[in-house]
Structures are given as structure tokens and as C-alpha cells.
Amino acid sequence: MIRIDSYPTHTYKGFKLRPGKPLPFGATIVPGGVNFSIYSSHATGCELVLFKKHDPKPFARIPFRDDFKIGNVYAMVVFDLDYENVEYGYVMDGPFDPAQGHRFDKTKILMDPFAKAIGGRDEWGKEPDWNDIYQHRARVAFDDFDWEGDHPLEIPFEDLIVYEMHIRSFTCHESSKVEHRGTFAGIVEKIPYLRDLGVNCIELMPIHAFDEFEQSRISPVTGKRLMNYWGYSNVGFFAPKAGYAATGKFGMEMDELKNMIRELHKNGIEVLLDVVFNHTAEGNEMGPYISYRGIDNHTYYMLTSDGYYFNFSGCGNTLNCNNPIVRNMILECLRYWASEYHIDGFRFDLASILGRDQNGAPMNNPPLLESLAFDPVLGKCKLIAEAWDAGGLYQVGSFPNWGRWAEWNGKFRDDIRRFIKGDPGLVGAVIQRVEGSPDLYRWQGRSTSSSINFITCHDGFTLMDLVSYDGKHNEANGEDNRDGSNDADSWNCGWEGPTEDSGTNFLRMKQIKNALTILMISQGIPMVLSGDEIGNTQLGNNNAYCQDNEISWLDWSLVEHNSDLFNFFKKMIAFRHAHPVLRSREHFRNTDYVGSGYPDISWHGTRAWYVDFSEQSRCIACLLCGKHAKSGTCDDNTIYVAMNMHWEMHGFELPSPPPGERWHVFANTDVVPPQDIWDVGSEQPLDNEYEVLVGPRSVVVLVAK
């Protein structure tokens, strides 16, 4: 049946038009044409501007007639467009009155905030034409895809092992040997590696459209170009970064990304996106007009009473997340990624901003966060908050959550780093972190999977650098080493930077293994930084946000060079997958509620059943009762983990294994590889059933069987 509204009703300079539908916002392919719809509550007029792909000048400017406006929405269908070869923008008329929050400028061509595809930076690193009047160009997108039955995986949260990665860093180095380096397609080529490693979830640093040339400059130190490499600065929220696709130059980045997600899902790997809703790439008063500020500045941004930009993001502006319009945009955006791209979950950058009101004050029940928590389309998505912002709000343990939100657990990172380094007074904190941080989450009725446990992430040192540098070495960033965090809790093991000293290198490898082991035996969701499994270094740079070069790119020759470390990671990850006792959703009750003769978890020291909480104590051990695995719903081995972060060896008196079983060594980080770790099922019997010697700064993992 042919719809009666599929015919033009008006013409303008040869273009056939009809009134459009206000919803959905954006450009939508309809029978015979494209429906363009854009919102502005303060504009007094709007024109649609059409370009042929890549052309410097528009081929048409079509004003929205008054009768094409419904409420504050301009909507129009333009017929017979070759929409695959069209780029569109808007010109908005309205007051330029910054004190009142308005910055309309009829000379600017503005990108659609709802653009599903964005051109202008189609190929990564290709210098743009800076004279182009329209830098970031909205395109009409094909959003159909043959998913071949794919569906988000919905792996239970507590069973995830997250691997945080940067699309470009992962395969850009020539040693990656992939055909399409630094792209979505490159990730597909590396799926066998991810499977071999054993992770079942990748968390992608921002893949929304951004401008790698934003604040691009030449490093005075290295002479290399510095870029907006990480991309924590959105141009558009609905469009993938075209330069991350090998086919971006053909405008096929959407399909390439969907193919990547489909292939990852086929291999049991979920995909989380790091989403940056706290600010945009438009910066402060001095920044460029890309979209939002020219369309409806007063709506999209948090403004001071005299019209300046609040800067809770540290990036010049703050998205007005709890304005109802912006809130709806964010919600619609996430729904779009979940439904059209089959994304499994989201990590929200500087998420505390999402809980501030329009004046910047933190709210008790922020409507945006509540909407996301209860949204039906997002009902099975993982929602993860980076529970702080650059305005001083720190909400680890107190992020508004409605039982749905998890948090990057910064306290886990800080406490475990200090413990591994040998700082005193951390035994009590380590108990909390290993148990899934009940001190932060249990009292609110939140599960262990509220805690994303990590020791390293993109922000800060890699794990290798954490044990190789006392201080940051960010000179290459061209800011006189002022940028980046100063309180990394790192320790160089006696020498700053790379060394040939075998003793130091052994200690560094051991410290990495200690960190990974504690991460993998802790309740909550472990997250590993991509490259840590092969000892990747950034040469002490703890803020490589601008380094599109070997500092950031993974050197795949390390897989072979550090094969012992890679082997340790693989087996430790396999150990976590094999043992449900490490992955309880509910917090421990610290009692025996199944009649096994052991509490679900018990804590020990160098003496069994006794913990030394004194300031100088650096020895602690836990016993995880297998009969209590997953709250007693499944049967697992009983596991004992001894952690000695003292610089001397200590004997740990062992609690008795369950009747009829013996202790077997699964891992001992003090032992020279390959006998530092065994395959699951091949653990080696312990000679002395009553005591295990734990070397200086070492962790031993025993399994009863």
C-alpha cells in the first residue's frame, strides 16, 4: 500500500518538499525522500543546508516554512535526494546574547546533534581543510544490518572479565600484523587473541565521532604531532568515529562497527562503550561552533548566571544533562546504541556530572540516572559509572544507583596499589577490596557486581610502568610534565625505567603477577587494561591522551618476549572462569550457612585463623569455601590465597583443607616460570600440609582437592 503522505506538497527552487514529522529527531529515510527534524527552543528561524559529499559549497539552502514547524521542532521531508552522497547541516537564526545564554550565528553551518553518521574526518589523521566552512558534516545513514540472529550476550555481570582497549592502540603497531591496522576491522582480526587470553568483554575507549585534530599541535620535545588521540571529546553522540573504520572513507563505518560487534558476540565477547556525556568538543566561549552552541546553547550547556560555561568536566563546558531535552537526547542515544548496535553496556565518563542539576549542584535522585536505570530498552545493559568528576564530586560507594549502576572502584585501585607497593596499614582495606568492597556497597543492598575492580586503566600508568617508575614521565606531551596524575602509588622496584638487571626485572614481573592475582581472586568485576598481559610500557607516560605513536600502540612482539607473563595472565583468567567461588553476586556473610564446617570466607595471616591487623602487618590470607560458591548454589573447590607484601619471606600456617582433600599449588608468583602457575586441574600437591612458605612480595594460590 502506498501511503497518502508520501507525495510532495510544496516546492522550493526545484526541491520537492512536504511538512515533516517532528519525531524521530535527525535525518530519517522515508518513502521517496528524507525527513529532517531538528529542535531549538530559542531559534527564530532555520534553514536546511545540503552539500554534495566533500564539496566545499552547498548546493542548496532550504528554509523551513513556518507551517513546517511543530512546537519548537523544524521538520521537513525533502524528496528525491541522492542521500548516500549528501551531507546536511543547519543554519539557525536567533539572538546573539551570551549574557542570556544565546549564541546564535547565522554565518555558521551546524551539525545535527542527532546525526547517525558524520563526515569530515573520514580517514584518521588526514589533515582537514581548515578553510572548510562545515568541518563535521552530518550524513544520512543506513541503519539496517543483517545481524544473522545476533543478540546482546547478557553474560551475568559477575562473570565478566573486562578488557579496556583503544581501537587504534590495539592494532596500529605494524607488529600487530593485521591487514587493517587501528580499525574496527583490525579488532576482528585479533578475536582469536582475545579468546586465547580468555576475556569475555571489551570496553572500548570512546568510539563516538570526535576530532583527532582538536587542539592538535607539535610536541616541542619530540617534534611529533600531538592529537586528541583518546577521543574524550564528542563531536556527535550518535555516530561512530569514521576514522576508526577501514571503510570510513566509503562512509561504511556503521556497517564495519556492527560487523565487529557481531563477530565478537559470536565469540562470546561482550562490547561495552565508554561514553562521554559530560561535555562536547565545543569547548568554552573561545571554542568552535560545531553544533550544540549554535542550535540551542541555553539548552545544551550548563551556564553560569552571566552566561559563561560551567566547567565540571575540566574540558571547557558541561553538558546540561538534567535539562529534560538533553536528558531525552542521552536516553535516546543509548537506546540507539543498545538496539541498533547491540551494545552490551556503557561506562559513563565522569558520570557524577550526570547527577548535577542545571546549576551544577549534586542531586539526590538525578532524573537522568533514574531514567537510565529503569529504561526498558536498556533493561539488560550494564551501566557503569566513573563515579567522580573534575568539579570535585567523588561518589565511589555513593553513586545514585537504584540497584542498577556499577562503579569503577577507585578505592580498589588505590588500596591494592599501595598494598602491593608495601605500604603499611592496609590489611583491613585489602580484606574489604577482596570481598567485593562490602564497606562501600553492602550497606546499600548493592551486590558485589557494583564494583568494577581494576588496578590500571587508560588513565595513569600501565601495569608494567606502575612497577617501573616512581614518577610520571610525560615530557612528550609538551606540558613540562605538569599533566597527568602525581599520586600513582607506583614503585620502580629500585631503578627508574627499563633496566638489564635481572633481579629488578624478576621483581617487576612478580609485582605484576601479584597485582593480577589479587584482581582475579577478588569478588566484583575485574577489568584489565589492554596490553598489561604482555607487559606493555608507555615509557612512564601516565597520560598518553595525545600520543598517536609507539607510546600508545601495543607492541605485539611483547607477546613472545613476555610469553611467561602472557601465560600467567591466561591461566589466571582461566582460573577465575573455572571457579564460581570467586564470582559470587551476593556479599559474603562471614558465616557457615551450608554446614560445610567453614565460613563462606575466612581470613588468616601467618597463623591460621588469625589476622594481624597491626600497622606493620603486610601478610594476609583468605580461605574461600567451595561449598558456599555462588551463595551455596553450586559446588566448587576450596581456595586459599596467601598474600605477603613484606620484603621478607614468611611461613603461612595453613588452615586444614576440607576432609579427604589436600592442598595443591595453583600459582606462586615467587617461582620462576613456567612453574609459577599451572593449568586448572593440574595443580601440584603441596609437600607440607601445615605451612606454605610465601616469598618476599609474593602471592600463593592453593586449591583443595
Binding site: 548516500e84 552522497n85 543483517d146 544473522e148 587493517h180 561504511m252 564495519e256 556492527k258 560487523n259
Partner: protein
């Protein structure tokens, strides 16, 4: 874009010549629907197809689905390296089996290989 059809040993051969893009795809789609018997075997000869866009990929996918629905069978022949690569990394690589030459495609269809 030119769409032409020949028949060899009861197998239809469709030759697509030129650019299969947003401009040419709607017409190509119409012509394919008009020319082809979707219940039988088809070789889609891409040797003269210089470029395929998102819209073009969707023409091929639609053709594959239509053939599958009607009990037909299709294979591609003569894909250029770049076109084949683009199809693979955008997720359209499994739409049809692909052969270097039309003769190989014909032989495969004759044997019933997919």
C-alpha cells in the same frame, strides 16, 4: 550501472557493470527483480563492477534473501580485491559464496555446491 542477463546451461548469469551506489542501486534493484527468476540458480558477475557503496551492498543482500526465500541459489564471480575486502569487513562477506571466475561459479552451481 548496466544490468544484463544471459543464460548458460540453465543457469542465469547477471552482469553488473559500473558503479553500484546510491544513484544506481534503486534501478539495479528493479531490473534484477524484473530480469531474474528467483527460483533458480544465478551467477552475479561482478568483474565489471568498479565500486559498490552501502546502498549497493544492500542490493546484493536483498537479492540473496529473495533467492533464499524462493528456493533459488546465487553465487558471486569476479569480485575485485578491494570490493571483496570491503564486503568482508562490513559484514557482507557471507551473503553469497564467491568465486574468481564465472566458469568456476557455474561449475559450483552445477554441482550444487553453495
Amino acid at each position: 550501472m548496466k544490468v544484463s542477463k544471459t543464460v548458460k546451461n540453465d543457469i542465469q548469469i547477471i552482469q553488473l557493470s559500473g558503479r553500484l551506489d546510491g544513484n544506481t542501486s534503486p534501478k539495479a534493484q528493479e531490473e534484477l527483480t524484473a530480469l531474474l527468476d528467483m527460483k533458480t540458480k544465478v551467477v552475479i558477475d561482478m568483474a565489471e563492477c568498479s565500486f559498490i557503496s552501502s546502498a549497493g551492498l544492500r542490493v546484493l543482500l536483498n537479492l540473496a534473501k529473495t533467492l533464499a526465500r524462493n528456493g533459488g541459489q546465487g553465487v558471486l564471480a569476479g569480485l575485485g580485491n578491494e570490493v571483496a575486502d570491503v564486503m568482508k569487513i562490513t559484514g557482507f562477506g557471507n551473503v553469497f559464496p564467491s568465486f574468481t571466475k564465472v566458469d568456476q561459479a557455474l561449475a559450483a552451481l552445477k554441482k550444487g555446491n553453495r
